[in-house]
Amino acid sequence: MELLKKYPKLFQWLFLLFVFLALCFAIDVPETYKFIRGQAEFVKDPNQSTYTLFGKEVRYYAFDVLWRLPPLLGWLPIWINDFLFFLLNEWMPMEFWNEDTQEYKTRPLVLQITRNITASMTFLIELIREILLGGVKTVVSFTSWDWIDKNPWAELPGLPWTIVVAGGAILGYKLSGKGLAIFAGLVLIYISVFGQWKPSMQTLSFILVAAPLSFIFGLTLGIMAYKSKRVEKALYPILLVMQTMPQYAVLTPAMVLFGIGDHSAVIITMVVAIPPMILLTLLGLRAVPSEVIEAGKMSGCNNFQLMTKVLIPTARRDILIGVNQVIMVCFSMAVIAAFIGAKGLGWNLLLALNQLNIGLALEAGLCISLIAILLDKMSLAWANKQEDYFGNLTFFQRYKNSLFFAASVLIGIILAYAGSFFFKDSFNYLSEIPHNKGISFADFWNRGVDWIWDTFFQTLKIFNTWLITEVLQPMRALYLRMPAVATLVLVVGAGYIIGGIRSAFTVGGLALFIALSPWWDRALVTTYMATFGVVASCIIGSIVGTLCQQNKYTTNFMLGVCDIFQTFPSFVYLIPVMMLFGITDTSVLIAVIVYATIPATRYTIEGLRSVPPALHDAATMSGVTKLQRLFKIEFPLAFPHMMLGLNQTIVFALFMVIIGAFIGTEDLGQYILKALSDKKGAGKGLVLGICVAFIGLIFDNLIRTWVEKRKKHLGID
C-alpha cells in the first residue's frame, strides 16, 4: 500500500496493462480472420460483406466489432478522388484564351489554374537547366520553333563545368574560407569527372527552383502567422501533420492535379519544404527580444519598417537555418520526386535500384549525398556568417570575389573554346563530360557486391532466416493478435495517464481514425516495423551517445558524423543494405535502424551535455563515482531531452519504414506505392499518408506532453 502511495502513476500503468491484457485474452480471434496479403478491401472474398453508403459500395469483413472495427471511413478516399475529379474537370467552366490555337476555349477553372502553374514552373526549370546545361527551350518560349529552325545559333550554350567548379569554390571561400572552398571544388570536380554532370545539374536546377520558391512562401506565411493568431491557429494542425506525413503520400494528389514531370516534382517539394520554413521563421521572429522590438517602435518604425528593418534582420540566423532545412528537404525529395518523373540523379538512382545495379545506384547516391553535404555546409556557413564592416576597403578588396568569378568565367569560356578544337571528333571534355563517358567504378562495386554475396551468403542467410522466423514474424503476429478495442483502450489510457482527459481525447481520436480506415492491419504492421526499429535504435543510440559523451573529442566527432548522415537523402540508405541483405524485410529494418539511430544518438549526447556543469561539480564533490553520477544525476536530468530524441527517432523510423516499401514490405507504405500507379489513387494515397502521420502524431503527442510535465517538474526551462 505504501508503494502505491509513493508511485500512484505506476499503479495506474499496471492497471492499464492489466485491462489491456485481459481484453487481449478475452477477445478471441474470429475464425474468419486472416491477414490478407493483397488488396484486402477490394478483393471479393466469401467472408466479405458489403453495404452501401452514400451510393458507394463498401466491402468489409464481417468481423467481430471488438476484434476489428468496420472500415466506416472506406468512403473517404473515394470521396476525395471524386472531389478532385469534379474540381478538375467539371467545376466552374470558364472561357480562356488559348495562345496556340488563337481562340477562346471553355475549360474548368481549376484545370486552367493548374495548367498555368505547370507552365510557369516548367519555364523556370527549363530556364535554369539551360543556363547550366544549354538548350533551346527557353529561347523557344520567347519566340517559336520555326524561328529556331531558321536561326540555329540561338541556343543557350550551357556553362562549362570549369566555370561552375570555380564559382562553387569562390562561393565556398566567401562563405566560410579555404576549407569549404576546397571541399566545394573537389565535390564539383568529382561529379564532373565521374560523368554525373548532366543528372547532377538537372537535380540542381530542380532544387534551384524549388528552394527559393519554398523560401519565399514559407517566409511570407511565417510572417503572417507571427502577425495574426488566427493564421497561426489555422496553420498549426497542417504543420503538425506535415511533419509526420511521409513524403510519398503527397505524390499522388499532386500527380492528379499537375500531372507527371519536373514541374509537379517542384510543387510537391514545395509542399513538403514550406512547413519547416514556416516553423523556423515563426521561431526566429518569436525569439527577437521584446526590448529590440520596443526600441524599433520607439525609433518611430511603422509596421513595415519594423518587420523589414528590425525583426527580419535580427532573426536572420534562424531564418537562414530555415533555408538550410528547405535545401535538405529538397534533396530528400529529389529522389522521391523521381517517382513522378523528376529527372536527374534521383531518377538514375531509382532506375539503378530497380535493375538491382548496386554499383550505379551507389555512384548516383554518392553524388546526391555529396551535393547535399556541400549545400548543407554552405547554407549553414551563410547562416552563421556575421557581417563585416566593409566601408573602409578598397575597390579590389570589396569586389575581389566577383572579380575572381568574372576571371574564371573568361578562362572557362576560353578553355571550352580551345577544347572544341582539341577534341574535334569526340566530346568536348573541357565543356561537359557526358553521362557515362566519365570514370565509373560501378563495375568495381558490382563485383564487390557479388563477392560479398559469394563469400557471406550462408552466414547472411542464416542470420536473415533466424531474424525473420524467430524475431520478426512472432513480433508481427503479436501485433496483429491485438484486438482493436484493446489497442484503443491502451492508447486512450496512456493518453489519460500522461496528459489527462485532453490528451486522451486527442490520441484516442487519432487512433480511432486509423481503426475506422480500411487499413488497420497494415497500420499495425507499420507500427511493428517502426517499433522494432525504434527499440533497436534507442538501445544503440543511447549506448553510443553515452560512451561518446565521456570525452570532448568523441562528442564532437559523433555529432559531426550525425550531421553528415542526416544530410543523406533517406533513399540513399537503401543502397548499402540492399547490397548486403538483398530484397528482404531485414534490409528495410536495418535501414530503419541505421537511419533512426542518428537522432537517438544526437539527442542522447545533447541531453547529457545540457546537464549544468555546476551540478556535475556538485556531484563530484559529494564523492560519487562515475557510474553513480551517470545514473543518479545525468540520466534523470537529461531524460526529457532524450525523450524528445525518441520522438524524432519514431518519426525517422516511420519515414524509413514507408520508404522501405520500395524494397517490398506489407505495410501502409506498400499501399501508398501502389496508389502511385493507380489512376484513382489520389484519395487513397492521401488517406494512407494521413494514417501514417497519425501514428506518428499519437506518439508525438504522448511524448511531448510527458516531456513538458517532466520539465516543469524538474524546473528546466
Binding site: A295, M298, G300, N302, P313, Y389
Partner: protein, 343 residues
Amino acid sequence: MTDAVIKCESVYKIFGANAKKMLQESNGNVDAKTFQKKGCIVGVNNASFEVSKGEMLVVMGLSGSGKSTLLRCISRLTDATGGKIYIEGQDLLSLKNKELIELRRNKMGMVFQSFALLPHKTVLENIAFPLQIKGVKTEDSINKAMDMVKLVGLEGRENYFPRELSGGQQQRVGIARSLAVEPDIWFLDEPFSALDPLIRKEMQDEFLRLQEKLKKTIMFITHDFDEALKLADRIAIMKDGIIEQLDTPAKIVLNPATEYVKKFTEEVPREKVLIIEDVMEKSNNDNISDLKVSKDEIIENVAEKILSQEKYVGVTDENNKIVGTVHPSKIIHTVFGGRKNNE
C-alpha cells in the same frame, strides 16, 4: 500647470481578458487580490503624477512593482487600461497610429535595460537608425550620428558591431541612439542595471553630465534606491502597481510615508543625501560661529567643518545672506540618529 510635459491621471494597467470591464465595475477601487482571483494581474494601479519640463522623475521599485509597465504605458508601448495620459497637453491614448509614430519620431527617446541594439548594424548605423526611419537623408543622418558618437565618447568605435563592444559601451550606443532625434522627453528603463558596479557608477556620472547639458524631461526607471537618490529631482516609489510615495529624495529620506518606503530609507547614509537646508533651523540665532556654509551643500561635504565648531553655524543662501543656523549636534543626530533602533 502649463509646463507639465507628462501628466498622468489615475492610470491603470491591468493584464487579463476582461480587464477593461472589471476596471469599470470596480469604480476605480482596484484590489490586486480580488482581481488576481478572477485571472487578472494588476500592473499599474491608479497612478497620478506630473513631470514638468527639464525635471527628472525616477521611478523606483522592486521587480514586479509595475514600474516598467508604467513607463510602457506612458510611451504607449502598451495601452493603458484606464485613465488619461497627456504628453505636452496632447491626449496620448486618443492618438492615431500615425500620430503616435510621428510623436515617437520627434519627441521621444528611450533607453533599454538590455541595450536592444540591432545586431546587424554598426554603432554608427544603430545611432542613425531613428533618423533614417524618419526619412532624414543618409549623409545628414550619418553626420548627426557622428555628433552623437562624440557626445557619448565612443569616437574611433563607430564602425564596430554591437557584439564587439562591452556592456557599458553598448549602453552608450543605446543612449546615443535615443538622443539622435533630439527628443524632448527621454525614457530610461533600468539603463544601468545590467552593468557592473564600477561601470554603473561611471555611467551615472556620465548621465548626470549629459543631463546638465541637455536638460531633457526624463522618466528614469530603476530598482536601485541609491541610484534613484543620486540622480533624481523627484522619486516615485512603487509597490504592487501603486505609487507609495512621490517626493524629493530628501523628503523621502526624512519622512518616509509608509513602512515599505521606510525599509529603503533606513539603510541610506543620510549625510550623502541631505543638504544643509534640509536640517537647518529657520530661527535666527545670534550666537553663531564664524563658519558659514551654503544651504545647498551636501551634509557629508561640510560635516567635518561643522563638527569642529561648538556653536551654531550660519547657513547662507546664494546671495550670501544668512537664512538659518545649524548646530553640530543636529549633524550628529542626522547622521547617526533615526537609524533602526534609535527612533
